[in-house]
Amino acid sequence: MSNQEIKPIDAEEIKEMLNRQKGKMKRYLSFCSHCSLCAESCFLYRAHNKDPQYMPSYKVIQSLGKLYKKRGKVDRRFLIEIKGIVWRNCVLCGRCYCPIGIHIPSMIAFTRGICRSQDVYPQPDEVSSESWL
């Protein structure tokens, strides 16, 4: 059994991490006008038959957006859910483009950091329905 299933979630630690970057991340999240114009700049979105779940804004709203909404009070299941979003659905190539100027990669990277702090990250022997690469 990997340590991903053992360690309890430290909600306080997540909250502290979220608060440390609050000024930046909350402004990025709240001034996103949900226009979806970032979609075409993501090669994964284009490669997956324009599936909205690969859209950069969708990935950020569903991961970091929800973390801020829940104020860090999340369970392991939630973190494992967003693990797929921030590692499998995004390769952090940094090519996403926001017309307003929101830096999406920094938000994904930050969410990865939060997941990693709770020992949630892709494992080498992970069984996945599709390739992580």
Binding site: G23, K24, R27, S30, F31, C32, S33, H34, C35, S36, L37, A39, E40, S41, K50, P52, Q53, M55, S57, Y58, I61, Y97, P99, I100, G101, I102, H103, S106
Partner: protein, 221 residues
């Protein structure tokens, strides 16, 4: 009641609008700092080659190829028209300038009334387009919540009620009060909701190191 809405409340809305924007702007510069390193100039930026006007236009149009004007031209046209009209109409509207002249004794020049009426219709058509996008485009629907419709309504409110008031449809007095309230609501919400992209669209340019940046993106969070 009417005096309160078109008197004190207008002043309060303007004060919240200006102070809110100043607060957000000062917070931005407080939270960001100058980078220790400055990005090297982009290739081709060092030497300026003199071009004719036609060459400038051709180069400008060619550079659009790599932008959203190529990937989503309809949305770009609609959003450009929308944002330009959104700023122009309230500032250069004859009725607003007359009110300004009556209360402060100063006014800007005004656009012809039938022209601003046309621009108002253009804004409302653009809002309808955004609404349709939210309803029928899967990728926009995926990130749309009730809040997005509400914000769209806040932006459309002053124009819809202004249009009704200008044409004197329904009870003029009630429509006018609704128009003033809608305008005040929009001013108050701009600094604190996603309408704040009015300010942050420009502030974020200080962070971006590319051809769309201010001061070559010399600031960082």
């Amino acid at each position: 009641m009417g005096d309160l809405i078109d008197g004190q409340l207008v002043s309060i809305a303007f004060i919240i609008f200006v102070l809110g924007l100043l607060y957000q702007g000062s917070q931005f510069f407080k939270l960001t700092r100058k980078k220790e390193w400055i990005l090297p100039p982009l290739p081709g930026m060092e030497k300026r080659v003199s071009k004719t006007v036609v060459q400038y236009i051709i180069a400008g149009l060619a550079s659009l190829k790599g932008t959203l004007w190529k990937t989503d031209p309809l949305m770009m046209i609609v959003t450009s028209v929308f944002h330009v009209c959104l700023i122009l109409v309230p500032i250069f509207l004859l009725g607003h300038n007359i009110l300004l002249d009556q209360s402060w004794g100063l006014s800007l020049w005004s656009l012809h009334e039938s022209f601003t009426d046309g621009l108002t219709i253009a804004v409302l058509i653009c809002v309808a387009f955004f609404m349709m996008r939210r309803l029928f485009l899967a990728r926009v629907r995926a990130i749309t919540s009730f809040y997005d419709y509400f914000v769209l309504l806040i932006a459309a409110g002053p124009f819809l009620t202004g249009f009704l008031a200008y044409h004197q449809w329904f009870d003029y007095h009630i429509v006018m009060i609704l128009h003033i309230l809608a305008g005040e609501l929009m001013l108050i919400t701009i600094p604190f909701t996603k309408l704040g992209h009015m300010l942050f669209f420009f502030l974020y340019r200080f962070l971006i190191g590319s051809e769309y940046s201010f001061t070559r993106g010399s600031r960082t969070w």
